[in-house]
């Protein structure tokens, strides 16, 4: 019980405190006036809010769509389409995120929504792929014995396939988070905001403190998200 509390609450709390300490320290000890003007509480909090919005909105969308489409493609009638999509996804994954953002810029223009949309599309890929792979890798004999005992298609999906695919789907989501956090810092290039703003302006005026603060906070956000998802997985999957 105590261990649970420690793992579930204290670790993320500790990480949040680390972030807060970084912010308080840098805001109060700017290396010069330029840094002081850039690293205000207002600026940092706005970057955090934008960053979280970028990540959360795109991730929630990607999880919803990725899992649903993955399930659809795993149906026997669409299986070969699924295999095809899996290959397309693997290729799509190799396109650099900056190129994706640039592509969307030329297509849809600037702004937060465009950035969210690009991140969303980019994060779908691993989730969709893993959902498909997770469901189709469930042993045939397990499906057959379920069918033979009188479970219908929907019950087999919800009682057997999805629970068994869950760890793999979660792994896809974690991959998506890692990709997402990297890409989210690039959103600044098309006016998406976020910690990328701090990093890029820091780079352009050559102030290390601003760069490190932006990068550190972006990394912390990713670590916390990933940690929480991992804890959920451990709590749900008891059978391995």
């Amino acid at each position: 019980m105590l261990q649970n509390l420690y793992k579930l609450v204290l670790v993320p709390l500790f990480l949040v405190i680390v972030g807060v300490v970084i912010v308080i320290y840098t805001v109060n000890n700017p290396t010069d006036g330029l840094v002081a003007r850039m690293l205000t509480y207002d600026n940092v909090i706005r970057a955090l809010r934008e960053h979280l919005m970028l990540m959360l909105v795109s991730m929630i969308g990607a999880i919803t769509v990725g899992v649903l489409v993955g399930i659809m493609l795993s149906r026997p009638s669409l299986y070969y389409l699924g295999r095809g999509v899996e290959n397309v996804v693997n290729v799509g994954q190799t396109i650099p995120s900056l190129a994706i953002l640039a592509l969307f810029f030329t297509w849809l223009g600037l702004g937060f929504r465009v950035a969210v949309f690009a991140l969303f599309l980019y994060s779908i890929l691993p989730i969709l792929r893993n959902t498909f792979a997770g469901i189709t890798s469930v042993d045939d004999s397990i499906i057959e014995s379920a069918k033979g005992m009188g479970l219908n298609q929907f019950r087999i999906l919800t009682r057997i396939e999805l629970p068994l695919a869950f760890p793999i789907i979660i792994a896809g989501i974690r991959t998506a988070i890692v990709i997402n956090v990297g890409a989210a810092t690039l959103a600044t290039f098309i006016g998406g905001g976020g910690f990328g703003d701090l990093i890029v302006t820091g780079l352009s005026v050559r102030r290390d403190m601003v760069i490190v603060t932006g990068a550190g906070l972006a990394a912390l956000t990713a670590i916390i998200l990933d940690y929480v998802i991992g804890q959920i997985e451990i709590r749900v999957v008891k059978w391995t």
């Binding site: 042993d139 004999s141 397990i142 014995s145 009682r159 057997i160 059978w239």
Partner: protein, 370 residues
């Protein structure tokens, strides 16, 4: 109870049907074993009964009702189903696995709990210990038991079992078979049981349906199948294995008195007498024993040419292995094959020479049997 009427199954894209014009009737309370070589259509036949596969032609009746017109989900809920791979759900505890059908049927929880306990006890798994375990924490034999318990929990009148004991070692399999027969004696389900092992078929079946290339060759009781096989294929299937099985069943001492071997030569027997004995012997050699009648060795015709002494003991060669008289004929055969000889010396429990068994003796036993 189950009736297959001229059933044919042709899988799309396959040239020849997997099952062809099959007629089969299984009486209530009977175990009908489908047996035949791999790929002959046993599994396909069985899976048409619960409509995992739909027949291309023909009709299937269950308790006189047309199964093809029934709702497949309801049909399956009332047919216990065990497959060779067992197919336990790895993410569910044993308790949850066994409760699958009751949960689908929405039984009240206390009824399900009681029945799960009862089933687990019936198949020899203590519910107190195993209820909350996951399948990964069970041995192969235990998983098979869970598979059987899961199939029987809602008391279905019919059970389909596809090589249910196929994935365990022979000793565990024999035990599971015996337990299953004991349970079946009590519950008297109508069972269609698939195996490729004729010994298992003979042991488990009230009737045996021999299949080959999608066709039913013979459907008979085990006794009739053994005494009156319909054709060479069936005779071959039951005959060959039956002989080998008999070698397992007979102990050496049971045939030792009937085999006529010349007496062994004492180690101090003069050479001329030894020669005479070897000439009389049908294996052209003679066993040599010491004063306590313990095995000393063997002298063959060629050994005498060496002229190394005056008495039997001077000529004899050591024998690398022997068997005791309470071993089975199959054990004797194994030792012969291992030594690369056509005979094996037999000793009694006091390690004294008791006789010699030859390959010919084993052949005689097998021949008598046929």
């Amino acid at each position: 109870m189950i009736k297959l009427d001229n059933v044919t199954k042709k899988f799309p894209g396959m040239k020849i049907p997997a099952v062809k014009d099959l007629n089969l009737e299984v009486k209530e309370g009977d175990v009908c074993v489908l047996v035949g070589p791999s790929g002959c259509g046993k599994t396909t036949t069985m899976k048409m009964i619960n409509r995992i596969h739909e027949p291309t032609e023909g009709k299937i009746y269950i308790k006189g009702e047309d199964a093809l017109k029934m709702n497949p989900i309801n049909l399956r809920l009332d047919i216990g189903y065990v497959i060779q791979e067992i197919g336990l759900f790895p993410h569910m505890t044993i308790e949850e696995n066994v409760a699958t059908v009751p949960n689908e049927k929405k039984w009240p929880k206390d009824k399900t709990d009681k029945k799960v306990d009862e089933m687990m006890t019936l198949v020899g798994l203590d519910p107190k210990i195993y209820r909350k375990r996951y399948p990964s924490a069970l041995s192969g034999g235990q998983r098979q038991r869970v598979g059987v318990a899961r199939a029987m929990v809602s008391d279905p009148p019919i059970m389909l079992m596809d090589e249910p004991f196929g994935a365990v070692d022979p000793i565990t399999r024999a035990r599971l078979q015996n337990e299953f027969l004991r349970i079946q004696e009590r519950i008297e389900k109508t069972i269609v049981f698939v195996t490729h092992d004729i010994d298992e078929a003979i042991k488990m079946g009230d009737t045996i349906a021999v299949m080959r290339e999608g066709k039913l060759i013979q459907h008979a009781t085990p006794g009739d199948l053994l005494s009156a096989p319909a054709d060479d294929f069936v005779a071959d299937l039951v005959g060959r294995n039956r002989s080998i099985k008999r070698l397992h069943l007979i102990r050496i001492r049971e045939i030792l008195d009937d085999v006529n071997r010349i007496k062994p030569a004492p180690e101090d027997m003069p050479l001329d007498d030894v020669k005479k004995r070897i000439e009389d012997s049908d294996i052209r050699s003679v066993i040599v024993v010491d004063r306590d009648n313990k095995l000393k060795g063997i002298i063959g015709v060629n050994d005498l040419k060496r002229k190394t002494g005056e008495v039997a003991g001077d000529y004899c060669q050591k024998i690398s292995d022997s068997v005791t008289d309470d071993a089975t004929l199959n054990d004797a055969l194994s030792v012969m094959l291992e030594m690369g000889e056509g005979y094996v010396a037999v000793v009694n429990e006091d390690d004294q020479y008791a006789g010699t068994i030859t390959l010919g003796d084993l052949l005689n036993v097998v021949k008598e049997d046929n």
